[in-house]
Point group: C2
Chain length 388, copies 2
């Protein structure tokens, strides 16, 4: 498995920190938001006498909790439509393994979450990228571009909605186009919807599970990690109305016995989080997005389309290679004792040339830190010998 | 992925229970022993504000805790020699994926833990079985039998020690033989040692990690699940002194981001469990083993070799097909309102014919229940139309 450009930077970030610089991490999707108190209290009082395996598909009470949650989102599910996984990561592995054999292909708009490639490698599946353009804010590529890539080996199209790394939120019309092509070629549409709650400017998220006529072809990957700021729980879900897919996924789930028990207790309690929590969290992310995106676009030569969801953006920088620039910031630059770590976008493209001028920034720092980060970046680009 | 004979029985067990029968579960490895209080208390007071991802290889403090634990077992390790996994299951997946490519082969003495096959399927690896004999108590097969199976595709020999499902504990001499053949052909020796603490009659467990000269070829799979009766934590480890193996395993670990955080807190605290806990637990299992094995051998036509470790035994029954017999007990038999669920051994052999007269029984019930179970079994074999 190849090493990602982000991980290659870690030793440089460690060295920068050791040298006394303050490193602002804009490179990772680990929110700083507090985990809801309901989840933490449930753990405190759990006192499980024998911490036993749960059902391989997750405890029944947690799955019933998810059913209630999805019902509020207009999605009707049965117990058998959900397999609780160890994080969204495992749900992706279940999805790939359940619908594809060695050598099969999945088409994914790029830039895409780098670990999709890792799971594809683990499952022996080939990722076929279709390029989306920063100029359109990473909107869905023309459907003809998908058509051209479909072969007898193609088993699925996969999207991340809202997108990591782009923050792009697909419109209903775009999803209809995907539905059409998927049904025409009898493929699956896999949607990673772990950022479902994070949408801005009054825009609405559309789930593949609500699309009429797509019931047997839609597979959703979900997770409590970002929604409740509990990435460390490692609780995700694979959801589909297709019984054959779910039966196959269950066999993979049985092989690894059970998802983590404590985390299931915490996740079930987290489902009781009041809507006011999300309102506050979303308002905070919105402010952060506005600060970061306006700040980026105020720097000469930088272009950042405005993301409508998640808590990432991908920006273009006036440099040859954002990997070199990121390394230089960590190694050789500071502004008032602060430097930045950003995620070079090369790792989000299958062809690393495409992302060479782009980087992903996550707005998981508080507003004051983001304002400082923008000034650090502005000055870094002024000082960078490789700036264009 | 094929369905295991045990899982096929589950609906029959559910029906038996629904009909009012009491079903004694001798089929599963879920101990009834209480999880140590230290682990449960650590969770109660944890109050993590942001339940974040941990390091992909596990928190440093947990890995340091494991280093101390292994040192007490005569094994010296560095931080980089351990990757914390989501259960022993994931450690096995990491091991297979790190040392083998599609189509490579691993030789495993059978009967073996059915899920080894599942992980092999997931990793595209072929399991090559070498038959061990119930008459020898499932001792190591002659080393010539291994020699005959080695091909250019063979990358590893794998053992479970003490064994699930056999309870067999390998002697130092047997391990030396394995070391010799592994070094001769430059293979890896993978040892699943999750039952390390459960040894009886004064016998000692020998770890592959203590074998001189095997350092670069030894890979250990471990877990807190059975040791501290916390199967639901889902915390395991992959351990090796081979840096290349561990670097590859870390990449797979990074792809799934992090093992579960709460479970790591509980596991770290569990490491402080006093030795007296294990003494009590082992004394309890020893009594149970004695009751179960003596009981089984007192039934005409039943043969059960005495296991020296773990908490399983594999017995031979005077029936054509233990799968049919197990189904019959659940569907059509009861003795004073009680019936049994046992694990047909066919699922532990790659060639299901070999296990047709055998079944695995786990002694995870209390002593009185085991005594009742023996009487139920005695009477079931008297009443079974298919008995020989």
């Amino acid at each position: 498995m190849p090493e990602s450009p982000i991980r290659k930077l870690v030793p440089y970030a460690e060295k920068a920190q050791a040298s006394g610089k303050k490193v602002y991490h804009l490179n990772i999707g680990q929110p700083d938001i507090e985990t809801p108190i309901s989840a933490r209290e449930a753990i405190a009082v759990s006192n499980v006498e024998v911490l036993a395996y749960s059902h391989s598909a997750g405890t029944e009470s947690l799955r019933r909790g998810f059913i209630d949650y999805y019902r509020k989102n207009g999605i009707d599910l049965d117990l058998a439509d959900i397999v609780v996984s160890t994080g969204g990561s495992e749900a992706l592995f279940f999805a790939f393994s359940s619908i594809m054999d060695q050598g099969d292909e999945v088409i994914i708009p790029e830039p895409f979450y780098a670990n999709y490639n890792s799971f594809a490698v683990s499952s022996g599946v080939k990722v076929v990228p279709v390029v989306s353009d920063i100029k359109t804010g990473f909107a869905l590529p023309p459907i003809e571009d998908f058509e051209k890539l479909i072969t007898p080996k193609t088993k699925a199209i996969m999207i991340c909605n809202p997108g990591n790394p782009t923050g792009y939120l697909y419109s209903e019309e775009e999803l209809e186009k995907l539905k059409h092509i998927v049904l025409k070629h009898d493929l699956f549409l896999i949607a990673d919807e772990v950022y479902r709650e994070f949408t801005y400017d009054g825009r609405k998220h559309h789930s593949v599970l609500r699309m009429k006529g797509l019931e047997q072809n839609a597979i959703m990957v979900d997770s409590v990690s970002k929604r409740y700021s509990m990435c460390g729980a490692r609780i995700g879900m694979l959801v589909s109305k297709n019984k054959e897919v779910m039966m196959s996924a269950l066999k993979f789930a049985q092989a690894r016995l059970s998802p983590p028990t404590y985390a299931q207790i915490a996740s079930e309690a987290a489902l009781k989080t009041p809507d006011s929590y999300f309102k506050e969290v979303n308002e905070e992310y919105l402010q952060r997005r506005n600060i970061l995106v306006a700040g980026l676009n105020s720097i000469p030569g930088v272009f950042c389309p405005e993301p409508k969801g998640a808590f990432y953006c991908v920006a273009e920088f006036p440099v040859d290679d954002t990997e070199e620039f990121a390394k230089w910031m960590l190694e050789s630059f500071e502004y008032n004792g602060v430097t930045l770590m950003i995620a070079p976008a090369a790792g989000f493209y299958s062809n690393s040339i495409l992302g060479k001028k782009q980087a992903r920034l996550a707005y998981v720092l508080n507003q004051d830190s983001l304002k400082i980060a923008i000034e650090v970046l502005r000055n870094a680009l002024l000082a960078y010998p490789g700036a264009e």
